[in-house]
């Protein structure tokens, strides 16, 4: 067990004398540093340190003794009765004094700073939007370039991404759509039964799933699942300088990394949307059958005659757009990753948030667009 550090301060004419005893190490000085710092040192012109009772001393101990000496005017420490090592440590501490008092850790919390931060955040938002759009343009150019020269397409990468983010997502998309279809049907059943119009559940399920839920659900699952995977994959490659290596070897990261992903999503999102729609309607039909005694044949007949096919095309038309949004945002955030692990985490979070945000906003724009068209 180390001895508690103790000290005694006495004045000898204009010279202070600090007698230290016990162990002054990084583990023990915690309790003594504040009382020592609070000692009155006015009128001292130098400091003698009597080390005759001193136990162990390390750099931390030497540091606080030296810091005390700094305040005691003159700043010279004169060790008395000190061992060779203690003298060396005190000397080293004196050599390594900070140049000025550090005021590095000021943080501002005033109203002006709040306004400044708000302004910065707004500008940042605008910049992000503009840059995402410019990335969209860049990607479309790269994609057009590949379409004109299909031999440059990375087919292996394309198929592998299609499997990873398309085929492997089928179970979760199907499962969740089925449940959402059930929920919609239940809401329809309980609400419409008050009017004795439970048969309209079919229209409710049909229009809701075909037009909105199928595609939105798919897009949200892809935003959570594929978008973050894209960011993490490309981001990890950025961190390990693989992207830089690619560039120096004459490979364009846009062609190698972004284009196959964009094409894969363009192809797979409509497929997944179709699956979501089928299972969503299936879920609705299942509940209608159990809870409302509408048997599946009746359900399908009514769906065909009373739910216009336009709803299906409206839903499907959004699918490639959402797919592209997911691929673009995922890839862009991945390419933005810097050197640190933290930036990878930040980028992944940002990419999921941006993808979800964009999907909802674009869906709203589509709704307005189709409303104007009267579909």
């Amino acid at each position: 067990m180390p001895d508690r550090p103790e000290y005694e301060l006495s004045t000898d004419a204009s010279r202070g004398r600090l007698s230290v005893s016990g162990d002054w190490t990084v583990h023990t000085i915690g309790k003594i540093s504040e009382p020592l710092a609070a000692e009155d040192t006015s009128g001292f012109e130098g400091l003698e340190v009597d080390c005759s009772q001193l136990g162990k001393l390390d750099t931390a101990g030497a540091f606080i003794i030296d810091r005390f000496a700094c305040r005691s005017g003159g700043g010279t420490v004169k060790p008395v009765n000190a061992s060779e090592q203690a003298t060396a440590l005190l000397k080293q501490a004196a050599e390594l004094r900070p140049e000025a008092d550090d005021e590095l850790n000021k943080k501002e919390f005033g109203v002006v700073d709040l306004l400044e931060r708000t302004g910065r955040a707004t500008m940042h938002f605008i910049d992000e939007t503009v840059e995402t759009l410019s990335f969209l343009g860049e990607t479309i150019m790269a994609m057009a370039h590949i379409v004109t020269r299909p031999s440059k397409m990375r087919w292996t990468a394309l198929v592998s991404v299609m499997e990873d983010s398309g085929l492997d997502a089928v179970p979760i998309v199907a499962f969740l759509s089925f449940f959402v279809g059930m929920v919609v049907a239940f809401i329809g059943a309980t609400t419409l039964s008050e009017f004795g119009a439970t048969i309209f559940t079919v229209e409710l399920v049909g229009i809701a799933i075909l037009r909105e839920f199928g595609v939105i659900l798919t897009a949200i699952i892809l935003a959570g699942r594929t978008n973050s995977a894209f960011t993490a994959q490309i981001g990890a490659m950025r961190m390990r300088q693989e992207v830089d290596a690619m560039t120096t070897l004459g490979l364009n990261p846009m062609d190698v990394l972004v284009v196959p992903r964009a094409f894969a999503m363009l192809i797979m999102t409509p497929v997944l949307t179709l699956i979501a729609i089928l299972f969503g309607v299936g879920g609705g039909a299942f509940v209608s059958w159990l809870a409302l005694d509408i048997n599946p044949t009746v359900f399908m007949n009514r769906l065909q005659s009373y739910v216009p096919i336009e709803n299906f095309w409206v839903g499907m038309s959004k699918a490639p757009v959402f797919g592209l949004v997911v691929a673009l945002i995922g890839c862009r955030q991945g390419l933005m990753v810097g050197g640190s692990v933290q930036s990878l985490g930040q980028s992944t979070t940002k990419s999921v948030v941006q993808a979800l945000f964009s999907i909802i906003v674009i869906d709203a724009l589509f709704a307005v667009f189709y409303l104007e068209l009267g579909i």
């Binding site: 990084v26 309790k31 540093s33 390390d58 750099t59 390594l96 550090d102 640190s340």
Partner: protein
């Protein structure tokens, strides 16, 4: 005799699956010396370091640090012996989400009850001691050059003034001038803080510049230990190649 030994490794056998890395290895590190550990790639230099500090559990054998058995410790006992050493990993292993200063403060926060402002000042002191200036403190490790990162890692290893310092390839990936600066720094800190240093390296210049004694690993054991002049006279073919090959000779020429 035992007082002079800081780290005593006896009968150490380590293995990954069926692949045996060390077989009944013995090694002593004397108090206050810099011991360089060399050996061909894959002879388990880093594994030996990991076994000593408890990151790799040995199959058999014991490791004693200052006459205290540190093999298979857990919980509070482990925390206590961890105060005995500081480790500088090969790439620094600084926490990338903390600033350099916060990195140095991590061990202090964990093991001491110092007030926050003092911790900051001490961390800055350690950074200056490792040859960084105060402006490096608030930066993140990713903003530093390789040499500066190693210095920051050294500052973190020294945060609690441990009596033993482990360095894993301290000069790997540094340019010769930075590497030489680092060698001098290690030497200076060793004498100022009377450290015992366990240094794993490939760099002949580092060995010549810093080490008191050298241990050569090979064939799953320590095949030779001794000061550099003594090893030059050793007739093991690998040691001969190592010290008397072109690079070894250049280092020798630089020394004299």
């Amino acid at each position: 005799m035992s007082e002079d030994i800081a780290i005593k490794v006896r009968g150490l056998t380590t293995a990954y699956g069926t692949h045996v890395v060390h077989d009944e290895l013995d090694l002593d590190v004397k108090r206050g010396e810099i011991l360089g550990v060399i050996g061909p790639s894959g002879t388990g230099k880093s594994v030996l370091l990991r076994a000593i500090v408890g990151l790799k559990r040995p199959e058999t054998g014991t490791v004693e640090v200052f006459d205290r058995n540190v093999t298979d410790l857990e919980g509070d006992d482990l925390r206590e012996v961890q105060n005995l050493w500081g480790i500088m990993f090969q790439d620094g292993a600084l926490f990338s989400n903390l600033t350099v200063r916060e990195n140095v403060m991590v061990p202090m926060r964990e093991h001491t009850d110092l007030p926050e402002p003092l911790m900051k000042q001490l961390a800055d002191q350690k950074l200056r001691m490792s040859g960084l200036d105060d402006s490096a403190g608030p930066k993140f490790p990713s903003d530093l050059s390789g040499g500066m990162r190693k210095r920051a890692a050294l500052a973190r290893a020294l945060a609690l003034d441990p009596p033993i310092l482990f360095l894993d390839e301290p000069t790997a990936g540094l340019d010769p001038i930075t590497a030489a600066g680092f060698d001098t720094l290690v030497r200076e800190l060793q004498s100022a803080l009377s450290l015992t240093v366990f240094l794993v390296t490939h760099d002949v210049d580092t060995l010549v510049a810093t080490c008191d004694r050298i241990a050569v690993l090979g064939r799953k054991k320590v095949i030779a230990t001794g000061p550099i002049e003594e090893l030059r006279r050793n007739d093991d073919p690998w040691i001969q190649d190592y010290f008397c090959g072109p690079r070894g000779r250049a280092a020798q020429a630089g020394e004299s």
